[in-house]
Symmetry: none
């Protein structure tokens, strides 16, 4: 048992960089934005030169002032809306192609493809209502960033022109619903230049995860990303189904990554009772799993990507507990897995970045450094 | 008491990079191959542009297929054999000189000297028998690496021509012994670009160590490398003599590094009883030393360069225990120095790289960083 700093003491991590570290990649070296992770997680193939954005369908008035950043949390006909934008010609950058796909509810992914484009541009999502959709601006001096900002602004304006008169929105207005009449983009990203951990360590690996960003990182890491019915990434997720899928995958893989998002949601909401309920469900899930795993022949590491204290309602820089069990991991002599006990465990205090090397070593897949 | 990661958690260290870290040098920045350490340890002076290789006298058949990588562990007349190769003219690289010296038993060191040579070349040692001596190839695109590989290959071929008909080998054949009829090379290295710790901290330092690689690193670190009769680096090493030499050296030096290799040998062999015996001998040696040291005026740090668990029979990534005693180092309150207890010591979990700065600080030799 021990403590893990997601990045280093005092650094508050986003879920994306925390997962980079958890999978053994230094985010200071390899993190290249969020949009690419979402895109890959949504099943889109990216080339190393593509720039991907996380997008929302949003509602704006005629002055492009944002009324609703999620277009009434639109659920239906988003594919029809997306199709009307996918493949759009960008006049200001004729060698750039715009690929656009809806994902879950009001969410979508935009991929700009072409020579000399850049992720160093600002968001068009103003991250607030009652202000105008933002103009993307280049964040550095390169021609590529300037060109990308211009292309993104053209895409955004044209998305309004096309969606404003789309029949799905005519119907939504007639029903008194907010129209999904513009696309706002954030989090530009390119494919991170990492060596898949499956290649680095010669492992066959799989992941059980519901949310697109985590699925994206796992895919880029070389894992097979499994689809599990009932795994939603929400409070209603089917933990038994996830556990069952992970156990099944462990028979055909050297490494299985099982990700549960659900505790993070009530933590952001400050909902103590719901968080407790989810933790109890996870506890039960592990009980079931431990009964079915041969710990003389398997390593299990249990940890978190970051803390989200109820009192903070957001991610915090606190270290998170870790327990690793399996052959030749000596016990800490502590009876209970808790944040308090973990501070006295025999692993001491490590970084998330250290976990995959420690496990690869135990699996006999670590290469000796030096002679 | 505490835990030390030789490099970082999960990284399996070779003895060479582990000693770099132990002496305060980041191996990721400063490690430039093993051959140079062996060469310096064997008493050879290297220029910063020289490339040194660890070599074996080996036995090959007429097709240069390796029959015995150690030429029957030849012990005698190796200096005569070495002299026949030392100073060889390299026709394919006329500005390169080849210096060649035998060291212990079948071991030797080759130094290539000249303008524009490189350590980025592959070994001629095939690291196995029943296959041919390897052709060295450049490991990068530079002309220097290409030139070095060509020179090394020429040296290797000529070593066969010369040694095959050497009178020492004629005699060995007549006695039914494997001839030492070729030189195979591995681990090219250059002098690491480090500032000696004696200079960095203004210390006078000495080392008591038997194996050439450790002696080499200590010498490059600015230490006086002592010769102790009976210190062999083997199971038969005279620990009393080493302890006595270290105690004596401590009177004239600020820092003394005492290295014992012997525990590593039965660990690689999986010989539990022998390892226990060696540990008991070391324990006794420390008892003797502690009796003669004024701990009110001296710091002692005891640790290992890496773990070699009997169950693994090779280096592992496990952290190693450390105990530091001396003025103003508060006790951990633990009664016994063990791996288990060290996980709960008051030093916590540090890296080997941290030890020398911690000691230099206690000796009042650490310079303030900033103002």
């Amino acid at each position: 048992m021990g403590l893990v700093d997601p990045i280093s003491p005092g650094v508050v991590p986003g879920s994306d960089v925390a997962h980079f570290a958890l999978l053994g990649y230094d985010p200071f070296r390899f993190y290249t934005g969020r949009g690419s992770l979402e895109a890959v997680g949504a099943g889109i193939r990216l080339a190393p030169t593509d720039v991907a954005f996380r997008c929302n369908f949003a509602t704006v008035d005629e002055n492009l002032t944002v009324v609703d950043r999620r277009a009434g949390r639109i659920k239906e006909h988003t594919q029809d809306l997306a199709e009307s934008l996918n493949g759009m010609r960008i006049t200001s950058a004729p060698d750039v192609a715009a690929e656009f796909h809806s994902t879950i509810e009001h969410r979508a992914v935009l991929v700009l493809r072409g020579p000399s484009i850049s992720r160093m541009v600002s968001d068009t999502d103003p991250h607030a209502t009652n202000i105008k959709v933002a103009k993307s601006t280049p964040l550095d001096e390169t021609p590529a960033s300037k060109k990308t900002a211009v292309a993104l602004n053209e895409f955004t304006e044209k998305s309004f022109e096309i969606l404003q008169k789309h029949e799905v929105n005519i119907e939504r207005r007639s029903r008194g619903q907010n129209p999904a009449n513009i696309v706002i983009a954030r989090g530009p990203g390119t494919l991170p230049p990492i060596t898949p951990l499956t290649v680095q360590y010669g492992l066959k690996a799989a992941c059980v995860a519901a949310i697109p960003m985590v699925r994206g990182i796992c895919k880029i890491s070389g894992m097979e990303v499994l689809n599990v019915e009932g795994a939603t990434g929400g409070l209603d997720t089917n933990l038994d189904a996830k556990a069952h899928a992970a156990l099944e995958a462990s028979e055909k893989n050297d490494l299985v990554f099982l990700h549960v998002k659900a505790t993070d949601i009530p933590s952001h909401d400050g909902d103590f009772e719901m968080k407790k309920k989810i933790l109890e469900k996870i506890d039960k899930m592990f009980g079931t799993m431990f009964d079915q795993i041969d710990l003389g022949n398997t390593y299990i590491a249990l940890t978190a990507d970051h803390a989200t204290p109820i009192s903070v309602r957001d991610h915090s820089a606190d270290p998170v507990p870790i327990v690793i069990a399996g052959p030749d991991f000596p016990p800490s002599g502590l009876k209970k897995f808790s944040e308090k006990n973990s501070a006295h465990g025999n692993i001491g205090r490590i970084r998330a970045l250290d976990i995959i090397p420690m496990i690869a070593d135990r699996l006999g897949r670590a290469k000796k450094f030096g002679f």
